[in-house]
């Protein structure tokens, strides 16, 4: 079977109709509105996310892809691989209890380091829980679509022993498995976050449905200058640490409510 173009994979992953559980999430928008964010501030809030928390997620995905795929550090394997392309390397199979070993060490140790770095930058338990739920949905998708990819086998093995991985890590494994470039993985993350919030907004506030579509593109544009920098992230330490304490507070309050449309 010939492989789909990486752009086709990106479009599949960015499609709101993708059956991986995303429709029950609002990318922190419902918590924000319930916490008092005025609707008029949503465009600015979207730009804020695109240039802070989305970059944490994006950096996590990029580093995961790189470390699982074998391009640890900033070394790019010899050959005609563009600088921002995540090499689609082969991980030797079945070594040790982890089942899978990558060049940067056993896959589980690599994943532990990435997850720790992500968790340190995502202090709100409600947000970590929601990200792990989305990660499980993504993993079901990845296992179904790319069951033989070494990156997918690595995260499947990790999930079975250590529990659910956050979505950004699963996305990174998928990016590695499908040849999605690091820069496009960043753009996908930013777009998906903004579009998720935009779709949720229409369920929460009366609005011309075309209005938030422009806001999504504005958020993507605001993140664009950051894309090259985030696409170069090579180690867990490189992952941006741009947080949003207000979002974290709103997320925690939202998790305690008995009236909500969205999981987070």
């Amino acid at each position: 079977m010939t492989s789909p173009h990486a752009l086709s994979v990106a479009m599949l992953l960015a499609d709101a109709r993708l059956p991986s559980g995303g429709h029950a999430h609002s990318a922190s928008l419902e918590p924000a509105l319930l916490g008092g964010l005025p609707v008029a501030a949503v465009p600015a809030w979207l730009i804020g996310r695109a240039t802070t928390v989305s970059l944490v997620e994006a950096g996590t995905a990029v580093v995961t892809a790189r470390l699982l795929g074998g391009a640890a550090g900033t070394t790019t394997p010899a050959g005609a691989v563009p600088a921002d392309t995540i090499p689609h390397a082969t991980i030797p199979h079945a070594t040790g209890p982890d089942g899978v070993r990558g060049p940067a060490g056993p896959a589980s140790a690599v994943l532990d380091r990435v997850v720790d770095a992500w968790a340190a930058r995502t202090p709100a338990p409600a947000l970590r829980d929601a990200a792990r739920l989305l990660g499980r949905g993504y993993l079901r998708l990845a296992r179904t679509l790319w069951p033989d990819a070494p990156e997918v086998r690595a995260i499947t093995a990790y999930d079975a022993v250590r529990g659910p991985l956050p979505r950004a890590v699963v996305l990174g494994a998928v990016a590695g498995a499908t040849g999605l470039s690091a820069a496009d993985a960043v753009r996908l993350t930013v777009y998906d976050d903004a579009q998720t919030a935009a779709a949720a907004l229409l369920k929460l506030e009366p609005l011309d449905p075309l209005t938030p579509a422009r806001w999504v593109l504005e958020a993507c544009a605001a993140a664009e200058p950051q894309v090259p920098r985030v696409a170069l992230c090579a180690t867990p330490e490189d992952i941006p640490a741009s947080g949003s304490p207000q979002t974290e507070g709103w997320a925690e309050a939202h998790a305690l409510l008995s009236q909500r449309l969205f999981r987070a």
Partner: protein, 264 residues
């Protein structure tokens, strides 16, 4: 964080049933139907009637709140821990059909936390007559109507009414007050269903509860014997097209993307 599964209490499997979960998991039973027809009450009735002999878990799909989960917890028919609520992002229909991820994950979690379970009942958020469960989520489904919705609803048909594994005509105790002839309504339903099972139920009528109970045990028995095949009622019920040859039944089974330009 990997959740730690609590110690499962050793219990005996129901002796009247063949095998002990040969499918390796619980029977997943969906309960769908319009708002307020008594889905939660019916689940409470099932728990009351079978809670002694079956290990049951319940998942609710609330629209605005976790009301259904709280109602069931407060009904005292099941350990409150075994009742979980899932958010649907204001799309109860999507959550049971187009993207069942959140419900599947919740079912897996319930089964892991209370291993082994015999039955997981999933309540759909009250929706319209076209909302049915995907066979990717449930093994069997009950569609619920009530007499207060009017005597003609059963005749109007729809995928749930026509082809759910069981149709329940609920709240028969109210029939005299709303001027509905239950016998007539059940006969209409049976005709629309080509004699698939129909139960006329009132939680106050022990005989009807016994009928419901034995239907559930029957499906569970067939599921365990490997003789039950999950049926998809489909997004559309089969319907009759009159034409010069006397008409034909149009089943949609092999034409999921069929264009519905014609008037029904």
């Amino acid at each position: 964080m990997p959740d730690t599964a609590p110690e499962s209490t050793p219990e005996s499997t129901p002796e009247s049933l063949p095998g002990s979960r040969p499918a390796g998991r619980a029977l997943r039973l969906g309960v769908a139907g319009p708002v307020g027809v008594g889905k939660s009450s019916l689940i409470a009735t099932i728990c009351r009637a079978l809670g002694e002999e079956l290990r049951i878990g319940v998942i609710t799909n609330d629209i605005y709140t976790d009301e259904d989960a709280r109602f069931l917890r407060s009904a005292g028919v099941l350990d409150p821990e075994r009742i979980r609520a899932v958010e649907t992002g204001a799309c109860p229909h999507t959550a049971i059909r187009d993207d069942v991820t959140a419900n599947l994950l919740a079912a897996e979690d319930l089964e892991r936390d209370f291993d082994p379970l015999d039955l997981v009942v999933i309540e759909s958020g009250g929706d319209n007559l076209t909302a049915t469960f995907s066979p990717a989520l449930v093994d069997a489904q009950i569609f619920v109507l009530d007499v207060a919705g009017g005597g003609d609803v059963a005749r109007k048909g729809g995928p749930g009414i026509g082809r759910a594994d069981l149709l329940v005509v609920n709240k028969t105790d109210l029939a005299p007050h709303v001027g509905v002839d239950v016998g007539r309504m059940v006969a209409d339903a049976a005709a629309a269903r080509e004699n698939r099972a129909v139960v006329a139920l009132s939680r106050r009528d022990e005989e009807s509860v016994a009928e419901l109970r034995s239907w559930v045990l029957g499906v569970l028995g067939r599921f365990r014997a490997g003789a039950h095949v999950a049926q998809d009622p489909g997004p559309m019920a089969p319907h009759f097209h009159a034409d010069e040859d006397g008409g034909y039944v149009h089943s949609h089974d092999d034409a999921p993307a069929h264009d519905h330009a014609h008037a029904h």
